[in-house]
Amino acid sequence: MTDTDRWFEAAYRAYGPSVYRLSMVYLGRRADAEDVTQEAFLRLLRGGPDFPNGEHERRWLLRVAANLCRDQLRGPWRRRVTALEEDCPMPDPETFGVADAVVRLPEKYKGPIYLHYYEGYSVEETAEILHLGVSAVKMRLKRGREKLKLELEGTI
Protein backbone atom coordinates (compact mmCIF):
# COMPACT_ATOMS: atom_id res chain seq x y z
CA MET A 1 0.00 0.00 0.00
CA THR A 2 1.41 3.37 -1.02
CA ASP A 3 1.30 6.57 1.03
CA THR A 4 -1.43 7.82 -1.28
CA ASP A 5 -3.49 4.68 -0.68
CA ARG A 6 -3.15 5.02 3.08
CA TRP A 7 -3.95 8.72 2.97
CA PHE A 8 -7.04 8.13 0.84
CA GLU A 9 -8.32 5.25 2.95
CA ALA A 10 -8.16 7.37 6.07
CA ALA A 11 -9.62 10.46 4.41
CA TYR A 12 -12.45 8.61 2.70
CA ARG A 13 -13.52 6.76 5.81
CA ALA A 14 -13.47 9.97 7.82
CA TYR A 15 -15.20 12.29 5.35
CA GLY A 16 -16.54 10.25 2.41
CA PRO A 17 -20.02 9.57 3.86
CA SER A 18 -20.54 13.24 4.73
CA VAL A 19 -19.47 14.39 1.27
CA TYR A 20 -21.74 11.82 -0.37
CA ARG A 21 -24.69 12.69 1.88
CA LEU A 22 -24.37 16.41 1.14
CA SER A 23 -24.25 15.61 -2.58
CA MET A 24 -27.40 13.50 -2.30
CA VAL A 25 -29.22 16.36 -0.58
CA TYR A 26 -28.30 18.63 -3.47
CA LEU A 27 -28.76 16.25 -6.39
CA GLY A 28 -31.07 13.41 -5.31
CA ARG A 29 -29.41 10.87 -7.64
CA ARG A 30 -26.90 8.31 -6.43
CA ALA A 31 -24.88 8.30 -9.63
CA ASP A 32 -24.51 12.09 -9.55
CA ALA A 33 -23.64 12.10 -5.84
CA GLU A 34 -20.97 9.44 -6.44
CA ASP A 35 -19.46 11.48 -9.27
CA VAL A 36 -19.28 14.56 -7.08
CA THR A 37 -17.76 12.59 -4.19
CA GLN A 38 -15.12 11.17 -6.50
CA GLU A 39 -14.29 14.55 -7.98
CA ALA A 40 -14.02 16.14 -4.55
CA PHE A 41 -11.46 13.56 -3.44
CA LEU A 42 -9.54 13.83 -6.70
CA ARG A 43 -9.30 17.57 -6.13
CA LEU A 44 -8.16 16.99 -2.61
CA LEU A 45 -5.40 14.76 -3.91
CA ARG A 46 -4.17 16.98 -6.67
CA GLY A 47 -4.76 20.40 -5.22
CA GLY A 48 -5.74 20.30 -1.58
CA PRO A 49 -3.82 22.65 0.69
CA ASP A 50 -1.87 21.44 3.69
CA PHE A 51 -4.49 21.46 6.40
CA PRO A 52 -3.65 22.19 10.02
CA ASN A 53 -6.04 19.44 11.12
CA GLY A 54 -8.65 16.97 9.90
CA GLU A 55 -11.56 19.29 10.55
CA HIS A 56 -10.17 21.84 8.11
CA GLU A 57 -9.79 19.08 5.54
CA ARG A 58 -13.38 17.97 6.11
CA ARG A 59 -14.72 21.51 5.66
CA TRP A 60 -12.67 21.99 2.50
CA LEU A 61 -14.16 18.81 1.03
CA LEU A 62 -17.71 19.83 1.94
CA ARG A 63 -17.18 23.23 0.32
CA VAL A 64 -15.81 21.72 -2.87
CA ALA A 65 -18.68 19.21 -3.00
CA ALA A 66 -21.28 21.96 -2.48
CA ASN A 67 -19.74 23.99 -5.32
CA LEU A 68 -19.70 20.98 -7.63
CA CYS A 69 -23.34 20.26 -6.85
CA ARG A 70 -24.35 23.87 -7.50
CA ASP A 71 -22.58 23.70 -10.84
CA GLN A 72 -24.58 20.62 -11.76
CA LEU A 73 -27.81 22.37 -10.86
CA ARG A 74 -26.98 25.46 -12.89
CA GLY A 75 -28.83 26.23 -16.08
CA PRO A 76 -32.30 26.91 -17.44
CA TRP A 77 -33.43 23.45 -16.30
CA ARG A 78 -32.66 24.34 -12.69
CA ARG A 79 -36.14 25.60 -11.96
CA ARG A 80 -37.46 22.11 -12.46
CA VAL A 81 -38.05 20.35 -9.18
CA THR A 82 -35.18 18.15 -8.05
CA ALA A 83 -36.58 14.98 -6.53
CA LEU A 84 -35.14 11.88 -4.90
CA GLU A 85 -34.81 9.07 -7.45
CA GLU A 86 -37.62 6.63 -6.96
CA ASP A 87 -35.51 3.51 -6.37
CA CYS A 88 -33.31 5.09 -3.70
CA PRO A 89 -33.28 2.51 -0.88
CA MET A 90 -35.01 3.70 2.28
CA PRO A 91 -36.41 1.63 5.16
CA ASP A 92 -40.02 2.72 4.67
CA PRO A 93 -42.17 5.10 2.60
CA GLU A 94 -42.36 7.65 5.42
CA THR A 95 -38.59 7.93 5.61
CA PHE A 96 -38.42 8.18 1.83
CA GLY A 97 -40.95 11.01 1.98
CA VAL A 98 -38.85 12.93 4.50
CA ALA A 99 -35.67 12.51 2.45
CA ASP A 100 -37.53 13.45 -0.72
CA ALA A 101 -38.83 16.64 0.92
CA VAL A 102 -35.25 17.65 1.76
CA VAL A 103 -34.07 16.99 -1.80
CA ARG A 104 -37.00 19.02 -3.15
CA LEU A 105 -35.95 22.10 -1.19
CA PRO A 106 -34.82 25.04 -3.32
CA GLU A 107 -31.09 24.70 -3.93
CA LYS A 108 -30.02 27.66 -1.81
CA TYR A 109 -31.50 26.20 1.38
CA LYS A 110 -29.96 22.74 1.06
CA GLY A 111 -26.39 23.44 2.10
CA PRO A 112 -27.24 25.48 5.20
CA ILE A 113 -29.98 23.06 6.31
CA TYR A 114 -27.74 20.01 5.90
CA LEU A 115 -24.59 21.47 7.45
CA HIS A 116 -26.37 23.04 10.42
CA TYR A 117 -29.08 20.56 11.28
CA TYR A 118 -27.37 17.32 10.26
CA GLU A 119 -23.64 17.92 10.54
CA GLY A 120 -24.05 20.20 13.54
CA TYR A 121 -21.98 23.11 12.29
CA SER A 122 -22.71 26.48 13.86
CA VAL A 123 -24.17 29.29 11.79
CA GLU A 124 -20.75 30.92 11.57
CA GLU A 125 -19.07 27.66 10.52
CA THR A 126 -21.79 27.00 7.94
CA ALA A 127 -21.28 30.51 6.57
CA GLU A 128 -17.56 29.93 6.24
CA ILE A 129 -17.95 26.57 4.52
CA LEU A 130 -20.49 27.86 1.99
CA HIS A 131 -18.89 31.29 1.52
CA LEU A 132 -22.04 33.01 2.69
CA GLY A 133 -22.66 35.81 5.13
CA VAL A 134 -23.84 34.92 8.63
CA SER A 135 -27.11 36.80 8.14
CA ALA A 136 -27.69 35.01 4.82
CA VAL A 137 -27.21 31.64 6.50
CA LYS A 138 -29.60 32.59 9.29
CA MET A 139 -32.20 33.67 6.76
CA ARG A 140 -31.79 30.53 4.68
CA LEU A 141 -32.04 28.32 7.74
CA LYS A 142 -35.21 30.10 8.75
CA ARG A 143 -36.82 29.84 5.35
CA GLY A 144 -35.58 26.32 4.71
CA ARG A 145 -36.93 25.28 8.07
CA GLU A 146 -40.26 26.90 7.23
CA LYS A 147 -40.43 25.03 3.97
CA LEU A 148 -39.64 21.71 5.64
CA LYS A 149 -41.83 22.57 8.62
CA LEU A 150 -38.86 21.33 10.63
CA GLU A 151 -39.56 21.21 14.35
CA LEU A 152 -36.58 21.97 16.50
CA GLU A 153 -37.16 20.27 19.81
CA GLY A 154 -34.00 18.50 20.83
CA THR A 155 -31.99 20.65 18.50
CA ILE A 156 -28.26 21.10 18.80
Partner: protein
Protein backbone atom coordinates in the same frame (compact mmCIF):
# COMPACT_ATOMS: atom_id res chain seq x y z
CA UNK B 1 -41.13 17.08 10.48
CA UNK B 2 -39.21 16.27 13.66
CA UNK B 3 -35.49 16.86 13.74
CA UNK B 4 -34.98 13.18 14.55
CA UNK B 5 -36.98 12.18 11.46
CA UNK B 6 -34.92 14.58 9.36
CA UNK B 7 -31.65 13.11 10.55
CA UNK B 8 -32.92 9.55 10.34
CA UNK B 9 -33.90 10.02 6.72
CA UNK B 10 -30.54 11.49 5.74
CA UNK B 11 -28.82 8.60 7.54
CA UNK B 12 -30.23 6.56 4.66
CA UNK B 13 -27.94 8.33 2.19
CA UNK B 14 -25.08 5.86 2.45
CA UNK B 15 -22.51 5.55 -0.33
CA UNK B 16 -22.31 2.20 -2.08
CA UNK B 17 -19.44 0.06 -0.72
CA UNK B 18 -17.80 -0.05 -4.13
CA UNK B 19 -17.49 3.74 -4.30
CA UNK B 20 -14.36 3.75 -2.15
CA UNK B 21 -12.70 1.27 -4.50
CA UNK B 22 -13.78 3.23 -7.54
CA UNK B 23 -12.25 6.43 -6.23
CA UNK B 24 -9.12 4.59 -5.11
CA UNK B 25 -8.75 3.22 -8.64
CA UNK B 26 -9.12 6.70 -10.07
CA UNK B 27 -6.54 7.99 -7.62
CA UNK B 28 -4.15 5.24 -8.63
CA UNK B 29 -3.71 6.85 -12.03
CA UNK B 30 -3.05 10.23 -10.43
CA UNK B 31 0.31 11.37 -9.14
CA UNK B 32 0.86 11.19 -5.40
CA UNK B 33 -0.51 13.79 -3.05
CA UNK B 34 2.78 15.54 -2.72
CA UNK B 35 3.14 15.90 -6.49
CA UNK B 36 0.85 18.67 -7.66
CA UNK B 37 -0.48 17.61 -11.02
CA UNK B 38 -1.30 20.90 -12.64
CA UNK B 39 1.20 22.88 -14.57
CA UNK B 40 1.34 26.55 -13.71
CA UNK B 41 -1.42 28.24 -15.65
CA UNK B 42 0.77 31.26 -16.19
CA UNK B 43 3.05 29.29 -18.50
CA UNK B 44 0.19 28.18 -20.68
CA UNK B 45 -1.26 31.68 -20.87
CA UNK B 46 2.08 33.29 -21.62
CA UNK B 47 2.41 30.96 -24.59
CA UNK B 48 -1.13 31.70 -25.69
CA UNK B 49 -0.49 35.43 -25.41
CA UNK B 50 2.64 35.17 -27.51
CA UNK B 51 0.75 33.27 -30.17
CA UNK B 52 -2.09 35.76 -30.01
CA UNK B 53 0.30 38.63 -30.69
CA UNK B 54 1.38 36.82 -33.82
CA UNK B 55 -2.22 36.80 -34.97
CA UNK B 56 -2.23 40.08 -36.90
CA UNK B 57 -5.81 40.25 -38.04
CA UNK B 58 -9.15 38.93 -36.96
CA UNK B 59 -10.16 37.17 -40.15
CA UNK B 60 -13.54 35.75 -40.92
CA UNK B 61 -13.35 31.97 -41.21
CA UNK B 62 -16.09 29.89 -42.75
CA UNK B 63 -15.79 26.71 -40.72
CA UNK B 64 -19.31 25.84 -41.70
CA UNK B 65 -20.88 27.57 -44.71
CA UNK B 66 -24.11 28.04 -42.77
CA UNK B 67 -22.43 29.92 -39.95
CA UNK B 68 -21.01 33.40 -39.89
CA UNK B 69 -17.84 32.71 -37.95
CA UNK B 70 -15.13 35.07 -36.80
CA UNK B 71 -11.97 34.79 -34.76
CA UNK B 72 -11.24 36.69 -31.57
CA UNK B 73 -7.78 37.85 -30.64
CA UNK B 74 -6.79 36.83 -27.13
CA UNK B 75 -4.32 38.77 -25.04
CA UNK B 76 -3.14 37.70 -21.63
CA UNK B 77 -1.71 40.52 -19.53
CA UNK B 78 1.65 39.38 -18.21
CA UNK B 79 1.54 41.19 -14.86
CA UNK B 80 -0.71 39.65 -12.25
CA UNK B 81 -2.96 41.89 -10.19
CA UNK B 82 -1.84 42.23 -6.57
CA UNK B 83 -5.23 42.44 -4.90
CA UNK B 84 -5.26 44.40 -1.63
CA UNK B 85 -6.70 42.88 1.53
CA UNK B 86 -10.17 44.06 2.59
CA UNK B 87 -9.07 46.24 5.49
CA UNK B 88 -12.08 48.38 6.16
CA UNK B 89 -11.99 52.17 6.27
CA UNK B 90 -10.53 53.91 9.29
CA UNK B 91 -12.24 57.16 8.34
CA UNK B 92 -15.71 55.63 8.54
CA UNK B 93 -16.45 56.43 4.91
CA UNK B 94 -15.35 54.44 1.84
CA UNK B 95 -11.67 54.88 1.03
CA UNK B 96 -10.72 54.57 -2.62
CA UNK B 97 -7.37 53.65 -4.11
CA UNK B 98 -6.50 52.34 -7.49
CA UNK B 99 -4.10 51.48 -10.22
CA UNK B 100 -3.76 49.90 -13.63
CA UNK B 101 -3.18 46.27 -14.49
CA UNK B 102 -0.70 45.97 -17.33
CA UNK B 103 -1.66 49.48 -18.40
CA UNK B 104 -4.85 48.06 -19.91
CA UNK B 105 -7.35 47.54 -17.10
CA UNK B 106 -8.16 50.27 -14.58
CA UNK B 107 -8.74 49.00 -11.03
CA UNK B 108 -10.38 50.85 -8.14
CA UNK B 109 -10.30 49.41 -4.63
CA UNK B 110 -12.95 50.72 -2.24
CA UNK B 111 -12.50 49.84 1.43
CA UNK B 112 -15.59 49.89 3.61
CA UNK B 113 -16.67 49.36 7.20
CA UNK B 114 -19.74 47.35 8.07
CA UNK B 115 -22.21 45.70 5.78
CA UNK B 116 -22.36 47.46 2.44
CA UNK B 117 -24.18 46.86 -0.79
CA UNK B 118 -23.95 48.34 -4.23
CA UNK B 119 -26.29 48.96 -7.11
CA UNK B 120 -25.46 48.56 -10.77
CA UNK B 121 -25.70 52.36 -11.07
CA UNK B 122 -22.46 53.25 -9.29
CA UNK B 123 -24.11 53.59 -5.91
CA UNK B 124 -22.80 52.08 -2.69
CA UNK B 125 -24.73 52.07 0.53
CA UNK B 126 -24.10 50.90 4.05
CA UNK B 127 -26.85 48.90 5.67
CA UNK B 128 -27.78 47.81 9.14
CA UNK B 129 -29.86 44.80 10.06
CA UNK B 130 -32.77 45.37 12.41
CA UNK B 131 -33.35 42.08 14.23
CA UNK B 132 -36.72 43.28 15.53
CA UNK B 133 -38.31 43.78 12.13
CA UNK B 134 -35.98 41.61 10.06
CA UNK B 135 -35.33 44.62 7.83
CA UNK B 136 -32.07 45.62 6.24
CA UNK B 137 -32.06 49.41 6.61
CA UNK B 138 -29.87 51.66 4.45
CA UNK B 139 -27.86 54.17 6.49
CA UNK B 140 -25.44 55.98 4.16
CA UNK B 141 -25.04 56.28 0.39
CA UNK B 142 -22.04 57.14 -1.79
CA UNK B 143 -21.19 57.30 -5.45
CA UNK B 144 -17.62 57.01 -6.79
CA UNK B 145 -16.40 59.98 -8.83
CA UNK B 146 -12.83 60.79 -9.85
CA UNK B 147 -11.42 58.22 -7.46
CA UNK B 148 -13.34 59.56 -4.47
CA UNK B 149 -16.40 58.33 -2.59
CA UNK B 150 -18.91 61.17 -2.72
CA UNK B 151 -21.82 61.08 -0.24
CA UNK B 152 -25.28 61.34 -1.80
CA UNK B 153 -28.74 61.32 -0.30
CA UNK B 154 -31.39 59.71 -2.47
CA UNK B 155 -34.91 60.12 -1.18
CA UNK B 156 -36.02 56.94 0.56
CA UNK B 157 -39.69 56.12 0.20
CA UNK B 158 -41.83 53.66 2.08
CA UNK B 159 -44.72 51.96 0.30
CA UNK B 160 -47.31 49.48 1.45
CA UNK B 161 -48.58 46.63 -0.64
CA UNK B 162 -52.08 45.38 -0.02
CA UNK B 163 -53.05 42.69 -2.49
CA UNK B 164 -55.86 40.16 -2.51
CA UNK B 165 -55.95 37.10 -4.70
CA UNK B 166 -58.21 34.08 -4.53
CA UNK B 167 -59.41 35.07 -1.08
CA UNK B 168 -55.87 35.40 0.30
CA UNK B 169 -54.61 38.75 1.59
CA UNK B 170 -51.01 39.88 1.19
CA UNK B 171 -49.89 42.86 3.29
CA UNK B 172 -46.26 43.98 3.29
CA UNK B 173 -44.33 47.22 3.10
CA UNK B 174 -41.00 47.97 1.48
CA UNK B 175 -38.54 50.83 1.04
CA UNK B 176 -37.31 52.12 -2.30
CA UNK B 177 -35.54 54.99 -3.98
CA UNK B 178 -34.83 56.23 -7.49
CA UNK B 179 -31.28 56.56 -8.75
CA UNK B 180 -30.41 57.41 -12.34
CA UNK B 181 -34.07 56.92 -13.25
CA UNK B 182 -34.19 53.39 -11.92
CA UNK B 183 -36.23 52.14 -9.00
CA UNK B 184 -34.22 50.28 -6.35
CA UNK B 185 -36.14 48.32 -3.74
CA UNK B 186 -34.51 47.77 -0.38
CA UNK B 187 -36.52 45.65 1.97
CA UNK B 188 -39.87 44.14 2.63
CA UNK B 189 -41.51 44.12 6.01
CA UNK B 190 -40.92 40.93 8.01
CA UNK B 191 -39.29 38.24 5.89
CA UNK B 192 -40.30 37.70 2.31
CA UNK B 193 -42.22 34.61 3.40
CA UNK B 194 -44.41 34.16 6.39
CA UNK B 195 -46.95 31.69 7.66
CA UNK B 196 -50.50 32.39 8.71
CA UNK B 197 -52.90 30.02 10.41
CA UNK B 198 -54.08 28.89 7.01
CA UNK B 199 -51.12 28.89 4.66
CA UNK B 200 -47.59 30.03 3.93
CA UNK B 201 -47.38 33.22 1.84
CA UNK B 202 -44.71 35.22 0.08
CA UNK B 203 -44.34 38.41 -1.96
CA UNK B 204 -41.46 38.99 -4.35
CA UNK B 205 -40.77 42.08 -6.44
CA UNK B 206 -39.75 40.56 -9.77
CA UNK B 207 -39.39 43.38 -12.26
CA UNK B 208 -40.43 46.72 -13.60
CA UNK B 209 -37.52 48.56 -12.00
CA UNK B 210 -36.70 50.36 -15.24
CA UNK B 211 -40.27 51.30 -16.11
CA UNK B 212 -40.60 55.11 -16.09
CA UNK B 213 -44.20 54.91 -14.99
CA UNK B 214 -43.09 53.22 -11.77
CA UNK B 215 -44.96 49.95 -11.90
CA UNK B 216 -43.43 46.89 -10.28
CA UNK B 217 -44.24 43.28 -11.05
CA UNK B 218 -45.14 41.29 -7.93
CA UNK B 219 -45.17 37.54 -7.50
CA UNK B 220 -47.63 36.44 -4.83
CA UNK B 221 -46.92 32.95 -3.53
CA UNK B 222 -48.96 30.60 -1.39
CA UNK B 223 -48.01 27.20 -0.02
CA UNK B 224 -44.62 25.52 -0.26
CA UNK B 225 -42.71 22.92 -2.22
CA UNK B 226 -45.03 21.01 -4.60
CA UNK B 227 -48.05 22.89 -3.23
CA UNK B 228 -46.49 26.26 -4.08
CA UNK B 229 -48.70 28.42 -6.29
CA UNK B 230 -48.07 31.83 -7.76
CA UNK B 231 -50.02 34.77 -9.13
CA UNK B 232 -48.83 38.04 -10.63
CA UNK B 233 -49.86 41.63 -9.98
CA UNK B 234 -48.66 45.05 -11.05
CA UNK B 235 -47.99 47.51 -8.25
CA UNK B 236 -48.26 51.24 -8.92
CA UNK B 237 -45.72 53.19 -6.86
CA UNK B 238 -47.71 56.43 -7.22
CA UNK B 239 -51.14 55.20 -6.19
CA UNK B 240 -50.13 52.20 -4.05
CA UNK B 241 -52.67 50.09 -5.92
CA UNK B 242 -52.00 46.49 -6.94
CA UNK B 243 -53.85 45.36 -10.06
CA UNK B 244 -54.29 41.83 -11.29
CA UNK B 245 -51.84 41.43 -14.17
CA UNK B 246 -53.31 38.17 -15.46
CA UNK B 247 -56.98 39.11 -15.30
CA UNK B 248 -58.89 38.07 -18.41
CA UNK B 249 -55.93 36.27 -19.99
CA UNK B 250 -57.20 32.76 -19.37
CA UNK B 251 -54.52 32.09 -16.77
CA UNK B 252 -57.31 31.78 -14.21
CA UNK B 253 -58.20 28.45 -15.78
CA UNK B 254 -54.71 26.98 -15.37
CA UNK B 255 -54.21 24.56 -12.49
CA UNK B 256 -51.18 24.58 -10.23
CA UNK B 257 -49.21 27.51 -11.67
CA UNK B 258 -45.94 27.81 -9.73
CA UNK B 259 -43.50 29.73 -11.88
CA UNK B 260 -43.34 32.35 -14.61
CA UNK B 261 -40.44 33.35 -16.84
CA UNK B 262 -41.06 36.94 -17.98
CA UNK B 263 -39.72 38.79 -20.99
CA UNK B 264 -37.84 41.99 -20.13
CA UNK B 265 -40.68 44.17 -21.44
CA UNK B 266 -43.16 42.19 -19.29
CA UNK B 267 -45.38 41.72 -22.36
CA UNK B 268 -45.02 37.96 -22.40
CA UNK B 269 -44.31 35.14 -19.97
CA UNK B 270 -43.93 31.39 -19.93
CA UNK B 271 -46.18 30.08 -17.19
CA UNK B 272 -45.31 26.71 -15.68
CA UNK B 273 -48.03 24.56 -14.16
CA UNK B 274 -48.06 21.09 -12.59
CA UNK B 275 -45.20 18.99 -11.29
CA UNK B 276 -42.89 16.35 -12.70
CA UNK B 277 -44.58 14.34 -15.46
CA UNK B 278 -47.68 16.58 -15.30
CA UNK B 279 -45.67 19.76 -15.81
CA UNK B 280 -46.91 21.96 -18.67
CA UNK B 281 -45.72 25.34 -19.96
CA UNK B 282 -47.95 28.03 -21.47
CA UNK B 283 -47.12 31.23 -23.33
CA UNK B 284 -48.92 34.27 -21.90
CA UNK B 285 -49.44 37.27 -24.17
CA UNK B 286 -50.42 40.14 -21.89
CA UNK B 287 -51.69 42.50 -24.60
CA UNK B 288 -53.59 39.87 -26.56
CA UNK B 289 -54.82 38.39 -23.28
CA UNK B 290 -54.16 34.85 -24.42
CA UNK B 291 -52.61 31.76 -22.88
CA UNK B 292 -51.41 29.07 -25.31
CA UNK B 293 -49.84 25.69 -24.49
CA UNK B 294 -46.21 25.87 -25.54
CA UNK B 295 -46.41 22.39 -27.01
CA UNK B 296 -49.29 23.50 -29.25
CA UNK B 297 -47.38 26.62 -30.28
CA UNK B 298 -44.04 24.99 -31.09
CA UNK B 299 -44.84 21.32 -31.65
CA UNK B 300 -42.22 20.39 -29.05
CA UNK B 301 -42.74 18.57 -25.79
CA UNK B 302 -40.47 18.07 -22.80
CA UNK B 303 -38.63 21.36 -23.21
CA UNK B 304 -37.65 24.24 -20.90
CA UNK B 305 -38.31 27.72 -22.25
CA UNK B 306 -36.27 30.89 -21.69
CA UNK B 307 -36.60 34.31 -23.35
CA UNK B 308 -33.52 35.18 -25.42
CA UNK B 309 -35.04 38.60 -26.04
CA UNK B 310 -38.54 40.03 -26.05
CA UNK B 311 -39.37 38.34 -29.37
CA UNK B 312 -37.45 35.06 -29.19
CA UNK B 313 -37.91 32.01 -27.02
CA UNK B 314 -35.18 29.41 -26.59
CA UNK B 315 -36.43 25.89 -25.98
CA UNK B 316 -34.05 23.40 -24.37
CA UNK B 317 -34.35 19.65 -24.15
CA UNK B 318 -31.99 17.74 -21.87
CA UNK B 319 -31.66 14.00 -22.39
CA UNK B 320 -29.63 11.21 -20.92
CA UNK B 321 -27.13 9.92 -23.48
CA UNK B 322 -28.17 6.79 -25.35
CA UNK B 323 -24.64 5.43 -25.09
CA UNK B 324 -24.75 4.89 -21.32
CA UNK B 325 -23.66 6.95 -18.32
CA UNK B 326 -22.34 10.38 -19.20
CA UNK B 327 -23.29 14.02 -19.38
CA UNK B 328 -26.80 14.90 -20.53
CA UNK B 329 -27.11 16.11 -24.09
CA UNK B 330 -28.63 19.47 -24.93
CA UNK B 331 -30.83 20.26 -27.91
CA UNK B 332 -31.97 23.83 -28.45
CA UNK B 333 -34.50 25.48 -30.72
CA UNK B 334 -35.04 29.23 -31.25
CA UNK B 335 -38.70 30.18 -31.68
CA UNK B 336 -39.49 33.55 -33.27
CA UNK B 337 -42.63 34.73 -31.51
CA UNK B 338 -43.62 37.22 -34.19
CA UNK B 339 -43.01 35.01 -37.24
CA UNK B 340 -43.95 31.75 -35.53
CA UNK B 341 -40.89 30.03 -36.96
CA UNK B 342 -38.72 27.42 -35.28
CA UNK B 343 -35.03 26.66 -35.90
CA UNK B 344 -32.79 24.08 -34.25
CA UNK B 345 -29.54 25.64 -33.02
CA UNK B 346 -28.03 22.78 -30.96
CA UNK B 347 -28.50 19.11 -31.73
CA UNK B 348 -27.85 16.68 -28.87
CA UNK B 349 -24.55 18.24 -27.85
CA UNK B 350 -23.04 16.81 -24.62
CA UNK B 351 -23.32 19.19 -21.71
CA UNK B 352 -19.94 20.52 -20.53
CA UNK B 353 -18.97 18.97 -17.22
CA UNK B 354 -15.77 19.80 -15.41
CA UNK B 355 -16.01 16.34 -13.86
CA UNK B 356 -15.05 14.78 -17.19
CA UNK B 357 -11.49 13.70 -17.75
CA UNK B 358 -11.41 15.93 -20.81
CA UNK B 359 -14.29 18.36 -20.31
CA UNK B 360 -15.97 19.30 -23.54
CA UNK B 361 -19.39 20.09 -24.94
CA UNK B 362 -21.78 22.97 -24.46
CA UNK B 363 -21.67 25.29 -21.46
CA UNK B 364 -24.91 27.20 -20.97
CA UNK B 365 -24.77 30.43 -19.06
CA UNK B 366 -27.80 29.86 -16.90
CA UNK B 367 -30.56 32.22 -17.90
CA UNK B 368 -28.07 34.65 -19.43
CA UNK B 369 -29.14 33.84 -22.90
CA UNK B 370 -28.51 34.01 -25.82
CA UNK B 371 -24.90 32.81 -25.77
CA UNK B 372 -23.42 29.42 -25.07
CA UNK B 373 -19.81 28.23 -25.07
CA UNK B 374 -18.75 25.25 -27.14
CA UNK B 375 -15.57 23.56 -25.92
CA UNK B 376 -13.95 20.79 -27.91
CA UNK B 377 -11.93 17.95 -26.39
CA UNK B 378 -8.69 19.87 -26.78
CA UNK B 379 -10.11 22.89 -24.95
CA UNK B 380 -10.67 24.88 -28.14
CA UNK B 381 -13.42 27.39 -27.51
CA UNK B 382 -16.20 28.95 -29.54
CA UNK B 383 -19.03 31.24 -28.49
CA UNK B 384 -22.34 30.73 -30.22
CA UNK B 385 -25.50 32.82 -30.36
CA UNK B 386 -28.28 30.34 -29.67
CA UNK B 387 -30.83 32.38 -31.59
CA UNK B 388 -29.08 32.20 -34.96
CA UNK B 389 -25.97 29.95 -34.61
CA UNK B 390 -23.58 32.84 -35.28
CA UNK B 391 -20.25 31.67 -33.91
CA UNK B 392 -17.07 33.34 -32.76
CA UNK B 393 -13.92 31.26 -32.34
CA UNK B 394 -11.26 32.13 -29.75
CA UNK B 395 -7.87 31.28 -31.11
CA UNK B 396 -4.89 30.13 -29.05
CA UNK B 397 -6.96 29.85 -25.93
CA UNK B 398 -7.74 26.82 -23.78
CA UNK B 399 -10.92 26.95 -21.77
CA UNK B 400 -10.23 26.26 -18.09
CA UNK B 401 -12.63 23.61 -16.73
CA UNK B 402 -13.12 25.87 -13.70
CA UNK B 403 -13.96 28.81 -15.96
CA UNK B 404 -17.32 30.40 -16.67
CA UNK B 405 -18.83 33.43 -18.38
CA UNK B 406 -21.35 36.16 -17.54
CA UNK B 407 -23.01 38.30 -20.21
CA UNK B 408 -22.87 42.10 -19.77
CA UNK B 409 -26.14 44.02 -19.37
CA UNK B 410 -25.95 45.24 -22.97
CA UNK B 411 -25.20 41.76 -24.27
CA UNK B 412 -22.08 42.72 -26.20
CA UNK B 413 -19.42 41.58 -23.74
CA UNK B 414 -18.71 38.44 -21.77
CA UNK B 415 -16.92 38.32 -18.44
CA UNK B 416 -14.62 35.29 -18.25
CA UNK B 417 -13.60 34.18 -14.78
CA UNK B 418 -11.79 31.20 -13.34
CA UNK B 419 -12.48 30.01 -9.83
CA UNK B 420 -9.55 28.86 -7.78
CA UNK B 421 -9.80 25.12 -7.32
CA UNK B 422 -6.18 24.45 -6.48
CA UNK B 423 -6.40 24.33 -2.75
CA UNK B 424 -6.60 27.91 -1.63
CA UNK B 425 -10.24 28.00 -0.65
CA UNK B 426 -10.03 31.65 0.39
CA UNK B 427 -9.04 32.73 -3.12
CA UNK B 428 -12.21 33.03 -5.06
CA UNK B 429 -11.27 34.09 -8.57
CA UNK B 430 -7.78 33.65 -9.90
CA UNK B 431 -8.31 35.03 -13.38
CA UNK B 432 -10.58 37.64 -14.94
CA UNK B 433 -11.07 38.58 -18.55
CA UNK B 434 -13.50 40.35 -20.85
CA UNK B 435 -14.51 39.23 -24.32
CA UNK B 436 -15.71 42.18 -26.38
CA UNK B 437 -17.84 40.70 -29.14
CA UNK B 438 -18.09 44.00 -31.02
CA UNK B 439 -14.39 44.86 -31.00
CA UNK B 440 -13.27 41.24 -31.37
CA UNK B 441 -10.92 41.30 -28.40
CA UNK B 442 -10.35 39.11 -25.38
CA UNK B 443 -8.26 40.55 -22.56
CA UNK B 444 -7.45 38.57 -19.41
CA UNK B 445 -5.22 38.86 -16.36
CA UNK B 446 -4.27 36.75 -13.35
CA UNK B 447 -5.06 37.77 -9.80
CA UNK B 448 -3.19 37.24 -6.55
CA UNK B 449 -5.61 37.58 -3.66
CA UNK B 450 -4.41 37.74 -0.03
CA UNK B 451 -5.04 34.57 1.96
CA UNK B 452 -6.96 36.43 4.65
CA UNK B 453 -9.59 37.55 2.14
CA UNK B 454 -12.49 35.80 0.54
CA UNK B 455 -14.53 37.06 -2.38
CA UNK B 456 -18.26 36.75 -2.40
CA UNK B 457 -19.72 38.60 -5.39
CA UNK B 458 -18.61 38.89 -9.02
CA UNK B 459 -20.83 40.80 -11.43
CA UNK B 460 -21.05 43.41 -14.14
CA UNK B 461 -21.53 46.90 -12.72
CA UNK B 462 -22.43 48.27 -16.14
CA UNK B 463 -21.29 47.52 -19.70
CA UNK B 464 -17.68 48.48 -19.09
CA UNK B 465 -17.06 47.76 -15.41
CA UNK B 466 -16.90 44.59 -13.35
CA UNK B 467 -17.30 44.48 -9.58
CA UNK B 468 -15.94 42.05 -7.00
CA UNK B 469 -16.90 42.12 -3.35
CA UNK B 470 -14.29 40.95 -0.89
CA UNK B 471 -14.30 40.53 2.85
CA UNK B 472 -11.88 39.73 5.59
CA UNK B 473 -11.95 36.34 7.28
CA UNK B 474 -10.32 37.85 10.34
CA UNK B 475 -12.95 40.51 10.82
CA UNK B 476 -16.26 39.71 9.15
CA UNK B 477 -17.17 43.39 9.06
CA UNK B 478 -14.30 44.67 6.91
CA UNK B 479 -15.16 44.74 3.27
CA UNK B 480 -13.79 45.78 -0.05
CA UNK B 481 -15.55 46.53 -3.31
CA UNK B 482 -13.19 46.29 -6.25
CA UNK B 483 -14.06 47.77 -9.64
CA UNK B 484 -12.37 46.88 -12.93
CA UNK B 485 -12.76 48.96 -16.04
CA UNK B 486 -11.85 47.17 -19.26
Amino acid sequence: MKLQEFRGALDGFVPAPELEGRIAAALAVQPGRSARRRLPRAAAFALAAALALMCVTATAVAADPELRAAVLTFFHIGAAEQVPAPEGAASGRPEVSGGEIGGLVKAQYIQLDGSCRYTDDNLIYRTEFDPETGEVVPVEFWTVEDGRAVPVEPEINRSEIHAVHNGETFDVFFRWFRWNGRVHTLSVSRSMTWETDETEKSVYILGGHDAPEGKLLLELGTGSQTDYHTWYMLYDLETGEAEDFLLGTGAEELEGMWSAEWSDDLCRAVLTCGQMEDQRDYLLDVEAKTVTPLEELTGLDNVSAVFADDGTLLLFRFQEPETGPGPFTVTCWAYDLEAGTLGKTLDAVPQFSELDERPHGVLLMGNQIPYCVLVDEDGGTRIMDLTNRETVEIEHFTFDPAGDLIVSPGGTKLLYFVRDMDGKPRLKWKQLGVIDLERGTFLAFDREVPLEAEETVLAWLDDSRVVIRSRSLEDWEDQGIYLYEF
